[in-house]
Amino acid sequence: MMTATPKNVVLELDNLNKFFGGVHAVRDMTFTISRGELAGLIGPNGAGKTTIFNLVTGVYSPDSGHINFLGEDITFLKSFQIIRKGVARTFQNLRLFPRSTALENVMVAMQQHHGYSFGEAITHMGKWGKKEREIHLNSMDILDRVGLAERAHQESGTLPYGMQRRLEIARALALEPEFLLLDEPAAGMNPEEVNELNDLIVGIHEEFNLTILVIEHHMDLVMEICPHIICMNFGAKIAEGNPDEIQEHPEVLKAYLGEEVEE
């Protein structure tokens, strides 16, 4: 059993609750993610997985409970403040900038770490040239890493679907985060693409020394790559553990297979 000392805890959810009108979308959610983990968050449609992401990244505020990131309370911070602390995420429904090129999409994220002043921006003097080159080169590197270098100058909205998914991951990586949240990265992909994606996720996990939390609807994908899995249904956590434990867990089986369990 892993002992989570405060030092290597990346994310800690403490009794989190969220209501939408009368719907209890997240119920007493508590879990921790440790540094270096590749964790999975699973559950049937409408279980509240994306809501958790939205709470963690400040899109919504919880009605009660706390969220700690690297030992710091981020419960009521705004999205951009949370992102700047080292969090990055992708979206279930792609949120690329479809009319910008793939490269521009990545550069937008990359520039967070290569700032220059307003004066330099309007005169194109000072650090502007150096920093813009850095942004450009580093962005190309990341595109190259996810296999999109050749498509750098194509408008992202015109890329094939699987590539758009990879581009979103590239954009999140460009934020140089410590903690990456992937929201159904494999949605709508064919099996071959899913395999490539698995390799990519495992690859970047090691390469960038990241902590990753993946939402996945398909259990098999998560089982393959995530040693730590949290399963939720109707807003509440129903199980947590390694793939084997999860696979055996009666609540999980019930949630996923419904009536079939009784047969």
């Binding site: 937008v108 994220a109 194109h124």
Partner: protein
């Protein structure tokens, strides 16, 4: 150069400066405003009062006019820019009209609706060209920098932008404040061009014209904005001999452009290699489609 051409060029520069400001706000940040003539009014009045009553040299006075417009925009923008989409557009009508009404009623300062006469005619061809060149340079640089990308991401998807670490609220305010500066300077130059200003010059019709120019040229294209400003200014001049029909043509052009090419003349492209590449792709595609048709 004849004075008439000169007059057109000066007016063109003035219109283009204001249009660039509105373009940054509407085209690049996605905030639709129908009250920007009010910032022109603030700039014009500030500069007029500074030059006439305090004898300030016109160049610092113009810049202070722009700065005053920025201050007004900041004070207004912080609370109201929380509104999104149509709602800000509607609020901006109210804001613009309110500013104008205040200028009209503050007689001790602005001399009210009778107008403010006796402004030095400082807006010569070279002054207007100079301001235009410097401000266009700054604007083109700005949109080709991290700020430009930030504005565009706030426009395209403000939730995604804030999840890329952008303080979207701050960028929206920044964009408004900068656009107010451009409009303020433009208003100040207009005051120097006419030697006389009246609050009624900066009414909603003027604001609508500014926004139309930007949409006409292409949302998200600075060179499109300049082309739009040029076309609209020239159309009103060219059709001067058929004066009665001029406004009808202006309205019709606006509708036709929206119907045929809603994304504006330039779309979101700048006049550059990428635009021509797009054009080329389009034409080759069109012709190949035609070839494919059964005859």
């Amino acid at each position: 150069m004849s004075g008439y051409t000169e007059g057109i060029i000066i007016l063109l520069c003035i219109n283009a400066i204001a249009a660039m400001g509105v373009s940054l706000l509407t085209g690049f940040t996605g905030i639709f405003s129908l009250g920007h003539a009010a910032y022109m009014a603030v700039g014009a009045y500030t500069t007029a009062i500074l030059t006439v009553e305090y004898g300030v040299h016109y160049i610092p006075a113009i810049l202070l006019g722009g700065a005053m417009a920025m201050i007004v925009a900041y004070v207004i923008g912080v609370p109201t820019l929380k509104l999104m989409g149509d709602y800000y557009a509607i609020a901006s009508i109210g804001l613009g009209e309110t500013i104008r009404l205040i200028l009209e009623n503050w007689q001790s300062l602005t001399r009210g609706a009778r107008g403010y006469p006796g402004i030095e005619g400082y807006t010569t061809l070279y002054v207007s060209l100079g301001f235009f060149a410097v401000m266009a340079f700054g604007m083109f640089n700005l949109i080709h920098s991290r700020f430009g990308r930030a504005f565009k991401s706030c426009r395209d998807d403000y939730i995604a932008a804030s999840l890329l670490g952008f303080n979207t609220a701050r960028y929206r305010v920044l964009s408004l404040v900068l656009s107010a500066f451009y409009c303020g300077v433009s208003g100040a130059l207009l005051g120097g061009f006419l030697s006389f200003i009246q609050p009624i010059m900066f009414d909603m019709i003027k604001s609508t014209e500014l926004t139309s120019v930007v949409v006409f040229g292409g949302l998200g294209s600075m060179s499109g904005t300049l082309i739009g400003a040029a076309v609209i200014t020239l159309v009103t001049e060219l059709f001067r001999p058929i004066s009665q029909y001029r406004m009808l043509i202006y309205g019709a052009v606006l509708v036709i452009i929206m119907v045929l090419r809603p994304e504006g003349i330039m779309g979101q492209y700048e006049l550059g290699p990428r635009f021509f590449r797009m054009l080329k792709n389009r034409f080759t595609k069109e012709s190949s489609e035609k070839e494919g048709e059964p005859s």
